[in-house]
């Protein structure tokens, strides 16, 4: 299902990156919410702000949420014990 583009360029790029890593978008909440590959109550979610005050920070926070998600499909790098 196609989602609409986020009005902000940085946030749109972060969304595209998260989707490429297996996160799925759902239209709900403020503008939409994105769910990690573990799509149940245990999974991670990130609420996308449709009108972020600081879009650069919002995009960075989304990337951080993707990085700290423990449910990521681990094919690109092995776990060296960092968190």
């Amino acid at each position: 299902m196609a989602r609409s583009r986020h009005p902000n360029k940085e946030v749109e790029e972060a969304l595209t990156e998260a989707e490429a890593r297996g996160w799925r978008f759902r239209k709900m909440g403020h503008w939409g919410r994105i769910f990690c590959p573990q799509a149940d109550r245990e999974g991670c979610q990130f609420g996308i702000n449709g009108t972020p005050k600081n879009s650069e920070a919002h995009a960075r926070h989304l990337m951080r949420a993707v990085e700290r998600c423990p449910h990521q499909e681990t094919d690109e790098e092995d776990n060296d014990g960092d968190i």
Binding site: G29, H30, Q45, N49, G50, K53, H58, H61, A65, D82
Partner: protein, 176 residues
């Protein structure tokens, strides 16, 4: 004014609710990003304020006003050897030498998991000590005190901004 970045860990709201993030985005927390992980609400703030103390105090109040129960403020003041190396921009082996007293004596003792092979330190203790040895700048040490104090005050209860300020002032006496 400066932008301060930190994360508030909270509970008390149902992420299944459709207004879950709107409570924050449409309220006073429009400068935060709301996410949900391991049963906790994470509020990543990029807040403009005069000081880190003011930023954290107002963010805690705004998060509570949005209905959240604030549990902790991160970057977590409990740090491992690896965390301390990263935060002070040193290699792990350099950090190990400090901890073991090979370079200089008097490194602060760990606070938690003391009997294990992976103890945890209070970053404020360590930051004050490292600043005294000119291995960490004063601002970084001050910020460590503020975040550590915020978590202590959250654990103890009381009027948050007042207790926070008192705690920071007391701990800052240790800072050269």
């Amino acid at each position: 004014m400066e932008i301060f970045e930190f994360t508030i860990i909270a509970t008390g709201l149902d992420p299944e609710a459709d207004d879950f993030e709107s409570r924050f985005y449409d309220g006073e927390c429009g400068d935060a990003s709301v996410s949900f992980q391991k049963g906790h609400i994470l509020l990543d703030f990029a807040r403009e304020a005069e000081s880190l103390e003011d930023a954290i105090a107002s963010a805690v109040a705004d998060s509570q006003a949005a209905g959240a129960t604030v549990e902790r403020v991160e970057p977590d003041p409990l740090v491992s050897m690896a965390d301390m190396a990263t935060r002070s921009d040193m290699t792990r082996s350099a950090m190990t030498n400090y901890v073991k007293g090979h370079r200089q004596e008097g490194f602060p003792p760990p606070r938690f998991r003391v009997t294990t092979s992976s103890p945890l330190w209070d970053w404020a203790d360590v930051a004050i000590w490292l600043h005294g040895k000119e291995r960490l700048d004063r601002q970084a040490a001050k910020n460590a005190i503020v975040v550590s104090a915020a978590n202590d005050v959250l654990d103890c209860g009381g009027n948050f901004p007042v207790a926070l300020h008192e705690r920071i002032e007391a701990k800052e006496l240790e800072l050269l």
